[in-house]
């Protein structure tokens, strides 16, 4: 039970911090199906808009699905419930994935999806918290969402709220110094209600692919496990498209005693064969034929 600034006492059941049970096969199947639907919606909304990123959203969909459909405590009827868990898409250019998942979860109206990036739409190119109560923080400039997430996590602690904060970062994004400022402060304050997930798809906008043939030197991140450990974070490395692994790693964070980072190995464009691993799809506009092909592959 939490008392808020307003003096209102929240009657909703507090979040448990006890470990959650193992995920069942039926639950997993439902999550996998949801992720697939959301992938199709990413394709639809980006194609409809003729703008927006594709590769990054597709690599992030499974993480988002696991969060919004399994791990996070929230109530679509009360999007601003103070004790809700928060999600911040620090890699804000993957907004189509966020919008697709929010709509599937009932936090956005489906009809708004096809207004993406159009004048007057709540679905801005990058997530804008002033446009919808379902968006917990405005992002788009890489590295910033993580700091805000730390602030929100600290705020929850100060308010005595069990709210947890999940922040999704890009692997390229981790080149921003601000990410390490945040990591350092979270380490010092041992902010255990903060979970970072790295969408480790191995690609960024340009990167070093063309520049270096030396093995390892084209990587978006060098030795990330060692780096995060040295910064005092608990580190889990998982397959970011393996729903069972995602769910169990994310569920485990609820009992963490230190800030936790999940290095989720992913693939840009995941789920659409001709986009997978091809960074040309970072933000390319699809033809109608490509859109149809992608949707067909996704069974939509």
């Amino acid at each position: 039970m939490t008392t808020h600034a307003s003096g209102v006492v929240d009657a909703a059941p507090p979040h448990g911090t006890e470990p959650m049970p193992r995920v069942t096969v039926a639950e997993l199947d439902r999550l996998i199906a949801t992720a697939r639907t959301c992938r199709a919606n990413v394709i639809r909304l980006v194609h409809h808009a003729g703008a927006g990123h594709v590769g990054g959203p597709l690599s992030a969909i499974d993480v988002l699905t696991a969060l919004y459909f399994d791990v996070m405590r929230l109530d679509p009827q009360r999007p601003l419930w103070p004790d809700r868990d928060r999600f911040i898409l620090s890699k804000g250019h993957s907004s189509p994935a966020l919008y697709a998942v929010l709509a599937a979860r009932g936090l956005l109206e489906d009809a708004t999806l096809l207004t993406f990036d159009e004048l007057g739409s709540p679905l801005q190119a990058h997530p804008d918290m002033r446009k919808s109560p379902a968006i917990d923080m405005s992002t788009g400039s890489l590295g910033q969402g993580f700091s805000a997430g730390l602030g929100i996590a600290l705020g929850a602690q100060r308010r005595g709220s069990p709210a947890r904060v999940y922040v999704l970062l890009g692997d390229g994004e981790c080149q921003e110094g601000q990410v390490w400022e945040t990591a350092m402060l979270a380490e010092r304050l041992r902010v255990a209600n903060l979970t970072a997930i790295i969408d480790w798809n191995g690609q960024q906008q340009v990167g070093w692919d063309a520049e270096s043939d030396e093995p390892g030197r084209q990587e978006t991140m060098l030795e990330p496990v060692a780096k995060w450990r040295a910064f005092g974070w608990q580190v889990h490395t998982i397959d970011g498209h393996d729903m069972a692994a995602l769910v169990s790693a994310l569920r485990a964070c609820r009992t963490a005693t230190a800030p936790t980072v999940i290095l989720a190995r992913t693939m840009k464009g995941k789920g659409v064969s001709f986009m997978e691993g091809d960074n040309a799809w970072h933000s390319r506009v699809m033809s109608d034929a490509e859109c149809a092909l992608a949707l067909a592959e996704l069974g939509a």
Partner: protein, 342 residues
Amino acid sequence: MTGQGALADATGVGDPAPLTAVVRPARLANGEGRSISLRDAFGEALLQLAQADPDIVVVDADLSNAVGLTSFPAALPDQYLQVGIAEQNAVGVAAGLATWGYRPVVTSFAAFLTSRSLDQVRVVVAQTGLPVVLVGGHAGLLAGRLGKTHVSMEDLAIMRALPGMTILAPADGVEMRGAIAAALAANRPVYLRSGRDPVPAFFAADHEVVLGAADLLREGDVACLLSTGSITPLAHAAVQLLAEAGHEVAHLHFGTVKPLSGAVVRDVARGRRLVITCEDHSRVGGFGSAVAEILSEEALVPVLRIGTDDVWVDSARNDALLALHRLTPADIAERIAERLTR
């Protein structure tokens, strides 16, 4: 579910009420009152406010003592968050705290807050409208012994470029006390300009800070001087020198640099031969430019912008810098007299 109405909730992201635009006759200290620096007045006032309101939280990028919060950390440790020398993270963390209804006050030097963390101020403060108060210490020439990396002569120009920022530049310790209270009450992003060195009390102790209001310091027919920030007392002395020389120059102080009421500025300009602006800031893009933007629309009255030239400021003693940049009362008076008798 869309639109901003839905957000006027505990997260404090509602649309702010418009500021009042008024001109009030000012009551001056006239030798009464304490000499105190803006930073110390800020520190005293914030400590009092925070003692009364546990939602006020200082987010400090390792400069709290330099901006006047010497006793705050020990007095209210639960309302003080040291983030280290990391201005970018400071602003982001403050924004996150603000979503919970906290009233974060970020402390650093003006030079760093408005440049090192500008992207963060832009995206998670100004664009979200979260009520974060940014306190930029050591602004202006009078922190001159730190040199060009630390002396911000550009902060007003930079902050003015951000939609939705409210910018306050108090003249003295009395006004600083009111300004920090008003900034916290305003429920919107605020940049508050602070300074280092003691200045004699300028306003009477009961001077009330109202965001957007201007203070009429003196009447005068020929011209009107508009000043902001801690140069107002020097400008006031200049206006007195001018009066002695037979130039009756009206004087208004603007503790709020943005928003600036076009109506007020036009009003005081009309019928006079010259408008003069005066600020402890570069002549490019700051308060004077805001006035020039307004008055140039109708070419109402010529505008003489007094501030530093478009050069980097070297380190030196305050008096040497004021003399070099011709910002002593005598210099200000001379520049205005020159222009009036041309």
